[in-house]
Amino acid sequence: MTIRVGVVTFPGSLDDRDAARAVKLAGAEPVALWHGDKDLHQVDAVILPGGFSYGDYLRCGAIARFSPVMETIIAGAHEGLPVLGICNGFQVLCESHLLPGALTRNDHLHFVCRDQRLRVENTSTAWTGDFAPAAEITIPLKNGEGGYVADEATLDELEAEGRVVFRYLDVNPNGSRRDIAGITNAAGNVVGLMPHPEHAVEALTGPTTDGLPFFTSVLKKLVA
């Protein structure tokens, strides 16, 4: 049985093709999902890709969160459907309240585009099972509004429950509280991060292949 991983395209999505390609390289079947279509076409997991959904008008991810496809994804996520939000996808997950907190404008106001070192701090989520504990990885980071914020109580709760999945190493590129690059929900099926694993799956095009385990992790989770 081939595992089917859906990749949503919103108007303004940029990285949906790369995400689909990463899914394919990991050995699964990518399925294109459309923002206006509620039907998830029997996919086993969903990726919300990077880009500027609906032009990121109002706030990043704010309009995408109310799209027809998100209605089904939000319901599915509450029932355990694995969902990975990358960059704009992370912003959509926060706007949807599937993940706590919000992403705000980078503290230095510049758009960042760099290869970023991260530590994987939780390898029990649906999307990180193939990483060694405390693995240090390098994948691209590119955003203008990647500063992760939440109130102190929420940050403490995330830390206490091991829900900070990725933390920036060397530099904090955007002013994120506690160097947080990515988090998970309590169940571990919904993960969001600002850096881009789908751009680091092949030596030819990426700085590393450190992004590949994201996509193989979910396959193992689904066949287990």
Binding site: T104, R105, D107, A150, D151
Partner: protein, 104 residues
């Protein structure tokens, strides 16, 4: 026709780098003495029907779920009397309708 204005501001504890950039530019333009600038959004909603309690409640719902992200932003809803509306403008517009947004 009636207009309802929704002002959305980042919560005081949330860093506002855009406002800071504006503030830092002021001395260059010769404006001294501005110690802080916070930048927000203003939405003007024109209503087909009357601005009654139900309409305000509905707009507060729109503001709290969509126009503002209450994780990082506060909002304020107020009624603006339009100059050309019949019987408009006795006193300042909608002081009594101003309310603070819900804090999560």
């Amino acid at each position: 026709m009636a207009r309802v204005v929704v002002d959305v501001m980042l919560k005081p504890e949330i860093l506002d780098p855009q406002g800071q950039a504006v503030q830092r530019a002021l001395p260059r333009l010769g404006f001294e003495g501005i110690t802080d600038v916070r930048q927000g959004k203003r939405f003007e909603l024109d209503l087909a029907g009357p601005v009654d309690e139900a309409a305000i409640a509905r707009i507060r719902e729109i503001a709290g779920t969509f126009l503002a992200n209450t994780v990082i932003e506060d909002f304020e809803v107020r009624v603006e009397e339009l100059a050309d509306a019949p019987g408009a403008a006795t006193g300042s517009a909608g002081d009594n309708a101003a309310e603070e947004g819900a804090v999560r």
